[in-house]
């Protein structure tokens, strides 16, 4: 049975379908979950908060979504160690919900940044980056107006000391403190990043480095919900081509995989 990944949908989410498409191509059973739900689907192994403009970015981006029904379920899931990935607006929501440190602010130059950016993997020992190597460069697109991650000096020093900075822009992108592109929580099971891995999973579209992160998430989902996998004797065989493709993706960043 393919591992189940819940992709949340808020009013104004717009990368939910792309995220689900990419996750399915990488062997996951991706389910779209409406924000009004009180529970995640049974046997959910990972949660993705997708990009978009939930609630029109009213008040502060991500601020309104944090009080959606489904966020209580996400909080429980995260507290039990479940893997949670927030992409772009999903990152903003996780920060506002207090599940990740810092906050995303309007880009320093007030420009909407929409292009491929080079990232550096600061830690390859998280569940999200374990298909990468330390210091590896990934090319993944960003598209945001409010991606300037901020933490005050004290908080930033704490996060560096506890190795919670997972991804950095190779060069300044939006004015983020420390060029931070992605941070995780203290336990390492919640990651937020501004770049969009779901837009970089197929070499036909130019880039596939994002598949390194998403395939690792699918692995994590499989490990987090072993009961559901064990219940089915065809464990791991559900989608041979996609699973095989995901397994073929091992840190070389060469972007083969999905087209195979």
């Amino acid at each position: 049975m393919p591992p189940r990944v819940a992709v949340l949908v808020f009013p104004g989410s717009n990368d939910d379908r792309d995220a689900a498409w990419a996750l399915r191509a990488l062997g996951a059973d991706a389910r779209l979950v409406w924000h009004a739900e009180h529970e995640l689907p049974p046997e959910t192994g990972a949660v993705v908060l997708p990009g978009g403009f939930s609630y029109g970015d009213y008040l502060r981006c991500g601020a309104i979504a944090r009080s959606a029904n489904v966020m209580d379920a996400v909080r429980r899931f995260a507290n039990e160690g479940g893997p949670v990935l927030g992409i772009c607006n999903g990152f903003q929501i996780l920060c506002e919900a207090g599940l990740l440190p810092g906050v995303l602010r309007p880009n320093r130059d007030l420009e909407f940044v929409c292009r491929d950016v080079a990232l550096r993997v600061e830690r390859a020992d998280t569940i999200f980056t374990r298909r990468c190597s330390d210091g590896q460069r990934l090319t993944i697109p960003v598209k945001h107006g409010e991606g300037c991650w901020f933490a005050d000096q004290e908080l930033y020093a704490e996060l560096e000391a506890s190795h919670q900075i997972v991804l950095r822009y190779a060069e300044d992108c939006n004015g983020s403190v420390g060029d931070v592109a992605g941070v995780c929580n203290d336990a390492g099971n919640v990651l937020g990043l501004m770049p969009h891995p779901e837009h970089a999973v197929d070499p036909l579209l130019g880039r596939a480095d994002g598949a390194l992160l998403l395939a690792a998430l699918v692995d994590a989902a499989r490990e987090h919900a072993p009961a559901s996998a064990a219940a089915d004797s065809t464990t791991g065989q559900a989608s041979p081509s996609a699973v095989g493709a995901a397994q073929g993706l091992r840190g070389d960043g060469s972007g083969r995989a999905l087209a195979e």
């Binding site: 008040l59 601020a63 506002e96 906050v103 309007p106 320093r108 007030l110 901020f150 908080l155 004015g175």
Partner: protein, 75 residues
């Protein structure tokens, strides 16, 4: 209540507004842009109303990492 970018926090919106005013010929030094929120609250006293609004600020209306808040209560 008034929500403002904290002192020392870069305010790109304020900088854009200041720059635009200077372009129009106004002698403006700095500009900071915040947000005004009017709330109607049922409360036993002004103090009670203030306490309620402070809690709202903590939970939703402001982000203490980057914003400062001033509350004014009118009966």
């Amino acid at each position: 209540m008034l929500v403002r970018p904290k002192a020392g926090i870069l305010d790109p919106q304020g900088e854009a507004v200041g720059g635009s005013l200077r372009k129009l010929g106004f002698a403006v030094g700095g500009a900071r842009v915040g947000r005004l929120i009017d709330l109607e609250v049922e409360a036993a006293s002004a103090e009670d109303a203030r306490t309620q609004v402070e809690r709202m600020c903590q939970e939703l209306l402001a982000n203490p990492l980057i914003e400062s808040v001033e509350i004014e209560v009118q009966e």
